[in-house]
């Protein structure tokens, strides 16, 4: 006696349409929120990609900031050194970073678990040092400035323009990921993660899929990085510390590893919660005036891990299941009363 489960199209429609609708709703009172939503969009693209490599194919990447940096620097260098049109650099950054990710994925094939974690960690640390070295190209420690973003459409504020642009890109990329993962590719990735021996017996080329996962994740991060560079109009080594990689991983875990649906909530979490924690810590007594929002943020993170280990997606499943059970119980009561 269960309700028929809705088809795929309505689900996809809701998941993509609702956030896009939210974004396009004019923020009458507060234009700055558009800027914040732009960042949510950037994070969404990045963590969807990270989810592909860490959630779906099970390869832990704790240095994803490296690919963000690569994409951001690509945009900054192309715009600043070579006068390439700003918005053209978005797909270019995605492609170049994707290739970089594929190249990294190749030696990474031999590594797994903690070894891969170290390799990705090392990559994140090294890439900013390498950028610093080639100063004439990347601006070194001082970094690169590009033109401030500005809205080409009259009547639309810069912040709103950024938000529309980024969410348009995010919708496309989210949709692409959805399509990719629900088919053969997604099954192959999950096989790589859960049952590699069985996968090989079924003719799945492990090496190819593992490398591809890195390439896809890197491409997404490259696009996110490019959009980040456009939004901030400045890149330098300090812009991509290890804490960025950790933030992205947090977003994926909180959203739900191996599940695309939760990624939106994951992105919202990493954009809003750290700043909310900073606000909260200011109201609490602090020693010598140093605000320590990390304590609050870390505790929230730990709580999330304890309470909903499957992330937001897991929570949705659990609450959906609970609601289904409740509904079935109600119906069965109604049934029994009818027959009684």
């Amino acid at each position: 006696m269960s309700l028929p489960s809705p088809g795929l199209l309505p689900r996809a429609a809701v998941l993509i349409a609702v956030p896009v609708l939210v974004v396009f709703l004019p923020k009458v009172q507060d234009d700055f929120l558009n800027y914040r939503f732009a960042f949510v969009g950037i994070y969404l693209i990045a963590i969807v990609g990270l989810n592909v490599v860490t959630g779906y194919s099970g390869q832990i990447s704790i240095g994803h900031g490296a690919f963000i940096a690569f994409g951001a620097y690509t945009t900054a260098i192309l715009v600043s050194n070579y006068d390439v049109g700003t918005y053209w650099t978005i797909p270019i950054a995605g492609i170049l970073t994707g290739i970089f990710g594929l190249l990294f994925g190749l030696p990474a094939l031999r590594l797994s678990g903690v070894y891969l974690a170290l390799a990705t960690f090392g990559l994140a640390i090294s890439i900013v040092l390498v950028a610093k070295r080639f100063e004439s190209f990347t601006g070194g420690g001082q970094g690169k400035q590009i033109d401030l973003p500005s809205s080409p459409i009259g009547g639309v504020s810069t912040n709103a323009w950024l938000s529309y642009l980024i969410w348009a890109v995010a919708a496309v990329m989210f949709g692409a990921a959805w399509l990719m993962l629900r088919g053969r590719l997604g099954r192959a990735f999950r096989a790589v993660r859960d049952a590699p021996i069985a996968a090989v017996s079924s003719g799945v080329n492990l090496a190819w899929y593992k490398t591809l996962a890195f390439g896809i994740a890197a491409a997404y991060a490259g696009v996110a990085g490019s959009l980040l560079a456009i939004s901030i109009a400045f890149v330098n080594p300090d812009t991509f510390p290890i804490s960025l990689s950790i933030l992205l991983l947090t977003g994926v875990v909180v959203g739900g590893l191996g599940s695309l649906q939760g990624m939106l909530l994951g992105a919202l979490f990493i954009e809003f919660v750290p700043k909310w924690a900073e606000n909260l810590s200011k109201h609490l007594h602090y020693n010598e005036g140093t605000v320590q929002p990390s304590v609050i943020y870390g505790l929230i993170l730990l709580a999330v891990l304890f309470v909903i280990p499957g992330g937001a997606a897991g929570l949705l499943s659990q609450s959906a299941a609970a609601l289904n059970r409740a509904r079935r119980w109600l119906y069965s009561r109604a049934d029994s009363r009818a027959t009684a």
């Binding site: 970094g143 980040l228 939004s231 109009a233 900073e278 005036g289 320590q292 949705l316 289904n324």
Partner: protein
């Protein structure tokens, strides 16, 4: 069912944010109301640069003092307005600086950005602030560009003596007093260290060849032993340490570990505060550290000869009354913050009964103030259409047995004319 829940969740968040946001009527000048002036700044309150966090605490304490004290016009605050200082953490990451600065301008609608810390973080927001015509005043960094690039960024100005002029003072001292010295430099490989080197070369002028070796290091290095050994091997007898505090202390310890004491050591002023020198002495021994030379421009809270100085007494009483409990007033960064806040209050007062951003900038760029008792005696905070360096005087000081002692005279590196 799941989708419905997700959709509901997203709509809930959406409605929460679309509902009316900032309150407050639109005022002609953002951040200025009849009762208050709201200013803001971004500082590294967390992360690797969080040791600079005392600066906004010092600033806030001084603003609280001004808010509670009746000024020359008989009213509390500045022209009857309370100063509200909004401080946000950027963790020294320019991406955060941009976000938080935009928040201060667009959401908190501050009157001006005051005291923002970090060369690259502040660089990241300079173009935006100038485009939005928001004053970016008294940034907490000694990079020379804040004064040198005024034409490009007319809304931006630094405060402290810049690193290049500090190193130039060392250079001129060496030319005058140590003409045969073999100079070696150990420096942090970033704009901070390189600015110092440029200044030193400028100060040495024709005698630039006195520099026999420079050795750089990265913040990510855990040791500088090889660099120090190389400097000793090169016969260096005059060492310049151009590094942030942690590595400065490590340099002293390393020299002690290899048993080397150059005849002269010049240490950059940011690392030369009492706290760091004490740490250096504790781990490297007093013999290694004694005789080190640096410069000062702010009064030193650990100097016992200032115990009865009016400015020092005022500083300590302000911190006791208006700063959070447990604050270590000996930390030089607090008095730095107080001194800076003093300069801003002077500018705000001069901006008139109804300050606008234009009148603030006029006050900031036409200042001639000798009354800042937190700076060394005789110092003047001065700007003019040809001089965009508010504080450019410094005095040499020498460290011995736990104390810095000023010597020589106040040197002015102000651009001539």
């Amino acid at each position: 069912m799941r989708r419905a829940l997700l959709a509901l969740g997203v709509l809930a968040i959406a409605s929460a944010v679309v509902l009316p946001g900032a309150f407050g009527g639109a005022s002609a000048t953002p951040g200025v109301s009849a009762r208050s002036v709201t200013i803001g700044g971004t500082f590294p309150l967390s992360g690797p640069a969080s040791s600079y966090a005392p600066i906004p605490v010092g600033m806030k304490a001084y603003f609280s003092y001004v808010n509670a004290t009746r000024g020359p016009d008989g009213r509390r605050g500045v022209n009857g307005r309370q100063i509200v200082f909004k401080v946000y953490d950027d963790g020294y990451n320019p991406a955060n600086t941009v976000q938080r600065t935009r928040q201060l301008v667009e959401q908190d609608k501050v009157f001006a950005l005051v005291g923002g810390l970090g060369t690259e973080p502040q660089e990241a927001v300079t173009a935006y602030l100038n485009q939005q015509k928001v004053p970016q005043v008294y940034v907490s960094t000694g990079a020379t560009e804040w004064g040198a690039k005024h034409a490009e960024h007319p809304y931006t100005i630094g405060w402290q003596p810049d690193y290049q002029s500090e190193a130039a003072i060392y250079g001129r001292y060496i030319v005058r007093n140590l003409p045969n010295a073999k100079v070696g430099i150990i420096y942090q490989n970033d704009s901070y260290g390189k600015d110092y080197i440029a200044g030193l070369e400028g100060g040495l002028g024709a005698k630039k060849s006195q520099i026999v070796l420079t050795q750089g290091f990265e913040i990510t290095d855990t040791s500088v032993t090889n660099q120090v050994l190389a400097l000793r091997r090169a016969g260096v007898d005059t060492l310049m340490i151009f590094a942030t505090p942690g590595k400065t202390i490590v340099t002293y310890i390393t020299m002690a570990k290899i048993g080397w004491k150059p005849d002269n050591i010049f240490v950059n002023s940011v690392s030369a505060t009492d706290a760091f020198m004490t740490a250096a002495v504790a781990n490297a021994g007093a013999a290694e550290v004694n005789g080190s030379i640096s410069v000062a421009y702010v009064k030193d809270p650990t100097n016992p000869s200032l115990n009865n100085d009016a400015g020092m007494k005022l500083y300590k009483s302000i911190m006791a009354k208006y700063a959070p409990a447990g604050v270590k007033v000996d930390d030089w960064l607090y008095i730095y913050g107080v001194a800076k806040a003093y300069t801003f209050v002077q500018a705000l007062r001069a901006a008139g009964k109804n300050p606008t951003r234009a009148s603030l900038l006029k006050a900031v760029f036409n200042m001639n103030d000798k009354s800042n008792r937190f700076l060394l005696p005789g110092m003047v905070t001065k700007t003019s259409p040809r001089d965009y360096f508010p504080i450019s005087q410094q005095q040499l000081q020498r460290f011995n047995n736990g104390r810095w002692t000023l010597f020589g005279q106040l040197t002015d590196s102000r651009p001539k004319g």
